[in-house]
Amino acid sequence: MTVETSSTTRRRPRYQIKVVGMLGLAIIVFWLIVAALGPHLAPYPIGDIVDQDYFGPMSRDFWLGSDYLGRDMLSRIVYGARYTLGISLAAVTMACTCGVVLGMSAAVAGGWFDSVLSRFLDAMSSIPSKLFALVVVSAVGSSIPVLIFMLAVIYTPGSYRFARALAVNIAAMDYITIARLRGEKMFHIITAEVLPNIIGPVLTDLGLRFVFIVLLLSGMSFLGLGVQPPAADWGGLVRENIDGLPFAAPAVILPSIAIATLTIAVNLFIDNLPVKIRDRSE
């Protein structure tokens, strides 16, 4: 795959993504397809106990073994993908949209709006994310809309900070001064002058934030504070089957591998993007 960017050389070069990055992308696409087509792919209904054995090994009937009740793991993982990816994608979209819009506005507007917003969001982000999640869940319980909203709130300050730092550099450029002198409105400056210049790094940041959200969601579910039974995301699947750990049952290992492949794939993809797009200090 080649990605086109705004370049600074005479001919616009087309950037090659390295093989490892391609592999990452392939895994991401694979999980997206699994999540989208979930019900059509699962061989058994999700809640049905189909194996007499619990923590069954991998077999022809049950490709990925069975869980602590004897339910088919393949079906549970396929459905789990819907929860993990769905919730994370919704949350990351909300977080980055809010963060980027606020960040650009603060950078362009400056003054007290910027100071107040920055100070408040800095304070927000100095609450460790898991802790914040614990407090919220203890306060309002844990339904899927609450989870999405909570994850979005937790990751908005980071996205804001990132977008603002980029936008502040852009806002200091002479072309923004020229636009201001012309009398352009805030909306035009943000959408036409600032956004096109930061969209690459912002999308990269979105990818990394997606990984953080998947990690936090899985962690919450693992603690029993995330997606509630009988539904289960991948973190919840690990929790359900943790008793299988001492004998290395596929039911506890496979959901872990599912999480790891997804998050590592996103990281590999981002790490191997051409420098021009990534443009992010580590």
Partner: protein, 547 residues
């Protein structure tokens, strides 16, 4: 005499972002005999620094020597191991960087860094090195030579740091010193002192040198021979006098011609003395406004008044920090003046741009120094020019398109550039687009803030010609803010000289070259001339100015 340096068939390759390999130095031969100073001169991208650095076996990230040999003192640097090279660096060949401010480690005292090279190579004991450093500081006429070494880099001025860097390069008695644009970042009045110190100390040390620069006049003061470079190739090489007086290569002639005062005969139009286009009265502007005692922390512009008449050009010159750019910001309303009046076309303007009418904003345009920063890299030329047309004049669709073509035509750019992004244009082309955008507003006044400073000398002349033509076609008035005296003299009929926030002298077209104020005299006499004897002929004692 045997050659100290012999470069034969040198080629250096660079890897681009897109992984393409391009040759940035193509088949260069160069010799240097002991004690000789050879200048490498050329524009940005001509490969001059790259060639100089190969003498130390060093190439910047992404570059590599792909062919040829660099014999230094009888050994080929290209074939050396990294360890052998590090024995050479500092001891045999040393380096004076373009920006000493960046090249000094901010965390270490200056003296430790100056004598570090003697410690690395075990040349002399630390105490002896310190004594020698103090001698060098004295030879380079640095203030407080005994104690300046105890300070940290951020505690001394740019001109002093540059001389300290020279001391650092000379302390180990190297056979060759590489000067990499060592005065480019300095103001002209500081540059003189540094150049003079370099010349003295090199004469005493008797070392050979490679002097890299883009400024022919500076080079003429120091070099025995000059090599003119372009696109990684040597265009012409010869004795300094020979290059200056009998240049053969057309590019060299172009470079020399850029020094001729390209002053077209000024035909001054009739003006109405009572009604200037722009009347600036007692403007005060700066930073750090304190509401408590109604005063400025930094008064960058202090009570400046000036007038500009329709169809005329005003130049504002001075060195960095004199307040000329702040004045431009105050006039255009970017930085509201705290007191004084700005009267434009008969009406008083609000101090900030937000307090001015749409028409007032449209009729006064500002063009900035760096086209790279002034043009949004993410938008096409079409968008950049289309937006002000739509905003000011409500032009859309076909009408807008026609007007964009007309604007590009005005600044002598082909309409085929419309779909390109700024990054795909050359420096000169970008600056033309920058002007086209200002023209799209149909202004009466254009403020040009250092518009030619970032351009190569040969391009500057073309831009000035263009501005002159536009003025005749569109009856524009310009304000030029610049540190480049010759550029301002070429196009303005009045010059205001600024020093420490004040307008110290106003020069009209008749007496433009005969300043009265001591600072102006110092400034004017500091501009290097192509004459190789210029530096030596300058008065040893220069006026010392205090605020």
């Amino acid at each position: 005499m045997a050659n100290l340096v012999e470069i034969r068939g040198l080629k250096v390759e660079a890897k681009t972002d897109a992984n393409r390999r391009i040759e940035i130095v193509k088949d260069v031969d160069l010799d240097l005999v002991p004690g000789e100073i050879v200048a490498l001169i050329g524009e940005s991208g001509s490969g001059k620094t790259t060639i100089a650095l190969t003498l130390m076996g060093h190439t910047r990230t992404g570059c590599s020597i792909s062919a040829g040999s660099v014999m230094v003192d009888g050994q080929d640097v290209v074939q050396m191991s990294e360890q052998q090279r590090s024995r050479l660096r500092g001891a045999v060949v040393s380096y004076v960087p373009q920006s000493a401010a960046l090249a000094f480690n901010p965390a270490k005292a200056i003296m430790d860094q100056v004598i570090e090279v003697t410690q690395i190579h075990g040349i002399m004991p630390a105490e002896e090195a310190r004594q020698r450093a103090i001698e060098l500081f004295r030879a380079l006429s640095l203030p407080n030579p005994e104690t300046i070494g105890e300070r940290y880099p951020h505690q001394v001025s740019g001109g002093q740091l540059q001389r300290l860097a020279a001391a650092m390069a000379l302390i180990a008695n190297p056979k060759i010193v590489i000067f990499d644009e060592p005065t480019t970042a300095l103001d002209v009045t500081t540059q003189i002192e540094v150049l003079r110190a370099f010349k003295d100390v090199m004469r005493r040390a008797g070392a050979a040198a490679i002097y890299v620069s883009h400024d022919l006049a500076v080079v003429a003061q120091l070099a025995d021979r000059i090599a003119v470079l372009r696109n990684g190739e040597v265009q012409e090489m010869g004795q300094t006098v020979q290059i200056l007086e009998q240049a053969r290569h057309p590019y060299t002639r172009e470079l020399i011609a850029a020094f001729e005062p390209h002053r077209a005969p000024v035909v001054l139009n009739e003006i109405d003395e009572r009604r200037p286009l722009l009347d600036v009265e007692n403007v005060v502007a700066g930073y750090g406004w304190s509401k408590i005692d109604s005063s400025l922390l930094v008064k960058a512009v202090d009570n400046v008044s000036l007038q500009l008449y329709e169809g005329r050009n005003l130049g504002i010159v001075g060195e960095s920090g004199c307040g000329k750019s702040t004045l431009a910001c105050a006039i255009s309303g970017i930085l509201p003046a705290v007191s004084g009046h700005i009267i434009f076309d008969g009406r008083e303007l609000g101090p900030g741009y937000k307090e001015r009418t749409a028409q007032q904003k449209r009729e006064m345009q500002i063009v900035f120094q760096y086209a790279d920063a002034a043009l949004n890299p993410a938008r096409s030329i079409d968008d950049i020019l289309g937006r002000p047309l739509a905003f000011y004049h409500g032009l859309t669709g076909e009408a807008q398109s026609k007007r964009i073509n007309a604007l590009l035509d005005m600044v002598r750019l082909p309409t085929s550039l419309r779909g390109r992004r700024p990054g795909e244009l050359s420096g000169g082309q970008k600056q033309r687009v920058n002007f086209a955008r200002a023209l799209a507003a149909e202004p009466k006044l254009i403020i040009c803030d250092e518009v030619t400073s970032a351009l190569d000398t040969v391009v500057v002349a073309a831009i000035i010609d263009l501005l002159r033509e536009l003025q005749q076609e569109l009856s524009l008035s310009y304000i030029f803010i610049s540190h480049d005296l010759s550029m301002v003299q070429a196009i303005c009929d009045k010059i205001v000289v600024m020093y420490q926030g004040k307008a110290v002298e106003e020069l009209a077209v008749e007496n433009m070259t005969q300043p009265q104020h001591p600072y102006t005299q110092l400034l004017f006499s500091s501009v290097p001339k192509l004459d190789p004897n210029w530096l030596d002929s300058l008065a040893r004692e220069r006026p010392i100015l205090t605020a």
